[in-house]
Amino acid sequence: MKIYLNGVEIEATENESVGTFLLKRRQQVLRKTRFQDQPRGMFCGIGVCFDCVVTIDGVTNQRACITQLRSGMRIEVTS
């Protein structure tokens, strides 16, 4: 299936979270913080800490670690 990462079409597999998919592509940094503009990635990995939040299909603050990849998904990360 195909997904879009920052607008670029890429091949992805099902049954994977957005977070682990990106980590396997060596995308450790998922966002920059609001105040200090510092990079953040997955921390707790289980939906508790909200550090890995990205924009998915236009909706902000979605936890990459617990959101399953879907065909056609549009993911925006900042790095």
């Binding site: 099902e14 682990t20 940094v29 913080t33 953040r40 921390f43 909200f50």
Partner: protein
Amino acid sequence: MSRTIIIGGGPAGMSAAVEIARSGGDALIIDSNPRLGGQYWRHGENAQFSHDGARFFALQDEIDREPKIEVRAGTQVWRAAHLDGVSSLWLNDGTAVTSDSLLIATGAYDRSLPFPGWDLPGSMTAGGAQAILKASGALLGRSVFIAGTGPFLLPVAALLVEAGVKVLGVLEANRVNGWLNHLGAVDLSKMKDAARYFKVLAGAKVPIRMGYAIIEARGNGHIEEVVIAKVDRNFAVKPGTMEVHKCDAIATGWGFTPDLTIAHSLGVSTDVHPIDRSVIIHVDAFQETSQRGVFAAGESTGVGGVDLALIEGRVAGIAIAVQRGLITTIDAKKRSVGLAQERSKIRKFADALLSVYKIREGWRSWINPQTILCRCEEVTFHQLRNVIHDLGANDVRTAKLLSRSGMGLCQGRVCGRIVADVVAGEIGIQATDDELRGIHNRPIAHPISLQTLADQGN
């Protein structure tokens, strides 16, 4: 009484569901993960376990075959309330469910301690490192340090080694003598597990260093090196023992925090654990909470591991069946033989572990004024100190309101206890039981869209 709703499909929730179904009752399991198993049996599409998979498959098969059990996976409870004996749960799929029979089996998550650089990409919790590997084979890094305290560091290290990660060291902050004997105190299977982990780690020549901690992580945009140091019995850094090592990721874990968000919303009574001061759900011998019809089992009633969670789930399931009139108390007694004794034995062992792997307050010597304490709102130690000493915040709640610590997206799940302990430490007192309980007060358990809110308002 109506269909039992089970919040959490980990070991406790699964074993309770099976007991209820065996009694002829129906149950609905709600879990935020896409699959059953909880954190302990977290798995990907094709479940494979290096060990201890048999118990999972037995439960999973029975749940699959049992038409009386419905599973709603990938579903979150964003709000919960208990009124006139009925619990209502609002779900993120826009629906709501109610029942006068409920089991809270929400588990626990890693407890974290801050240090400079703990917010850098590449820094994960021990449970997180394990979770991403179990769920999809993702590796947090190629060369990593594992640090913190507790027996849980061992299986995480062994799993990473087996997955091909270069584990540069396992740093246990507490000085634990006779680790293996200690773990063997409960039964032979624990001893065998521990021996297996040690064998894997020894085979990969992974150093296990007692009385060491990661006190800083550094790097440009992601972790490139760590500073480790010897710590004393109170976790204070021993001067002159610092070492700098290159690595690309770290996993740290300091025991677990029971997830009390839903329990708090349902208004059940809680206890503050005498050893680690974690907030846990108060239950009676039948795992029933202070609210009639609301039961709780597993880590949310006190961290004790998979064996305890399975037993508590069974006890709760049987008690629920009695309360619903599905079986007689005589049947229940027959099915409960030995459970209470086993539960009390494992709880004693869990408490012994908590004492040995206690978090000592000297960890505060690792942080500096610029260290982030609240990751969401980026509140530093300096800022928190300011609201305490300059603005006169002399309790946890005021310090939170003035500094915004704990008021970000995670609602204090990660920093709540950290901030409470720092505030108390600065003032020179201990956080009160009610201050610790207050950390878990999150009326909206998970963020939802305004659309969902609008739909459910109708």
